[in-house]
């Protein structure tokens, strides 16, 4: 019943190999952009900047009345943190597929801009990078907040500036702590690259579907599945090595 024609498999492999290149490109560039962007988002999320805070008097610090509480909430309002929180909530709370569609068609429907051909790939990258930045930001934040306050104090007494403290003391320790959750995200990203098919960017899954239609066969989809599995096997292996490399201290 299920006769597999191996010459057909080789043909599929060749074509999917090209698609794999596109998938790897989306994957690598998304990581390249989203990981630093996520750090900026994490800073915004942790921002304690409260422009009205200076109006706050001693008495309002422990409000009892409702009016007092509202006043305290207004005076303690942190605009950057608030905006970034909403940003993260939207990106984590809506489907990535929808976000890709919005990024690609948004410029036309919102501003009437005509879209050049090259924008298809840029839209894929923006959609993935911004979405993953939101996830990475929360991972970074949990990592940064898990570093004991004593580390900041020791650095401060030794004369480290804020940025020196972050770069040399906090960031390396955070990086070690976040490897397991980041591995999860990275593996998810490999599979998520297939969502680029909604913009018909010719990555592996889009091509697999097209070959399946041409060959009138389900086989290309299975082969694509094997490719994704191998891709993730490599990713998991690399992440494990990184985790081990960071295990020289506890």
């Amino acid at each position: 019943m299920i006769g597999i024609d191996f010459s057909q498999v080789w043909g599929i492999l060749g074509q999917l190999g090209e698609g794999m290149g596109a998938s790897v490109m989306i994957f690598a560039l998304t990581l390249l952009f989203s990981m630093p962007l996520g750090l900026l988002v994490a800073f915004g999320r942790m921002s304690k900047w409260a422009p009205l805070h200076f109006l706050e008097k001693e008495e309002t610090k422990q409000p009892v009345s409702l009016g007092g509480r509202i006043k305290a909430a207004v005076l303690g309002f942190k605009p950057i943190q608030f905006i970034v929180k909403i940003f993260i909530a939207i990106l984590r709370g809506t489907p990535l597929m929808l976000q890709l569609i919005v990024v690609f068609y948004g410029p036309y429907y919102l501003f009437g801009m005509q879209l050049p051909r090259s924008y298809r790939f840029i839209a894929v990258l923006i959609g993935f990078s911004v979405n993953y930045a939101a996830y990475f930001a929360e991972i970074y934040r949990s990592g940064i907040e898990s570093i004991p306050v004593g580390q900041y104090e020791a650095a401060a007494v030794l004369g480290y500036s804020k940025s020196q403290t972050f770069r040399r003391i906090i960031f390396p320790q955070m990086a070690k702590r976040i490897v397991p959750p980041v591995t999860n995200e990275v593996i998810t990203l490999v599979k998520d690259t297939s969502l680029a098919f909604v913009l018909t960017y010719e990555e592996m899954f889009t091509i697999a579907k097209q070959i399946a239609a041409k060959e009138a066969s389900i086989l290309p989809l299975f082969v694509a599945g094997v490719f994704y599995f191998i891709f993730n096997f490599v990713v998991a292996f690399v992440m494990e090595r990184i985790e081990k490399a960071m295990n020289y201290y506890r």
Binding site: G11, Q15, L40, I80, P107, P116, Q210
Partner: protein, 276 residues
Amino acid sequence: MKKYLALFLTMAMSVTMLAGCGGGEQPAQDNVETPADSAERTTFTIGFDAEYPPYGYRTDAGDYEGFDIDLAQEVCNRRGWELIKQPIDWNTKDMELNSGSIDCIWNGFTMTGREDSYTFSEPYVDNSIVFVVLADSDIQTAADLAGKVVVTQADSSALSALESEDNAELTASFATLEQIADYNSAFMNLEAGVDDAIAVDIGVAQYQLQSRGDKFRMLEEPLSTEQYAIGFKQGNTELRDQVQETLDEMLADGTFDEIVANYTDYNLDQMVCLGK
């Protein structure tokens, strides 16, 4: 705190700049789009469903081919345009066309019933919507579909035919009418017994029957008859006229029929209607 603010601003700027990249190339595109400059048109981007053989599909070499693409290529050759073959998701074809990422939809695109939404070329293929069932199915006529699960492509002409008033009674007799993203999945479903029948354009049906052997058969009586044409953005008559002019030339000197002859396997020679 100032540092965080600065970082945040940097972030906001980088996002804007990224977004700006898309807009940055836009003026060039505008030149191509505006009718006044169309004399300088250098590219012609067709949007097609690459999962819709024999009209458009992916070859083993990784290129896109098919009846419609061959026609478009010949038009471009004669006009001196570069043909850009842009596969699209059929569900978002209107967004693609409106946003200017494609110049036309040229892919077994049914004009019947859509005349008011697009600027169409002359129809060039007579297409029927047919039902495909498993070869050993006991379904023989449309009437036998009562209580059965019928599937068709989302946003397809087969779907609009089934939803039209003429066929309301028939459609109401189905157990359900399911929509699916592409016909390949539909045939997989049918083979797996999830669905009982597929409503599909005859060209696609013949391609599938050709490729998949004798597992399937078509019901003899078509659901409806309709016509394929090339769909341009509403009001873009100038580009439509240019393409139509070249198509007519191709018909006159026999090139059109030569292209059709390559697709006789799928009975396209019996279906073309341009100039008839």
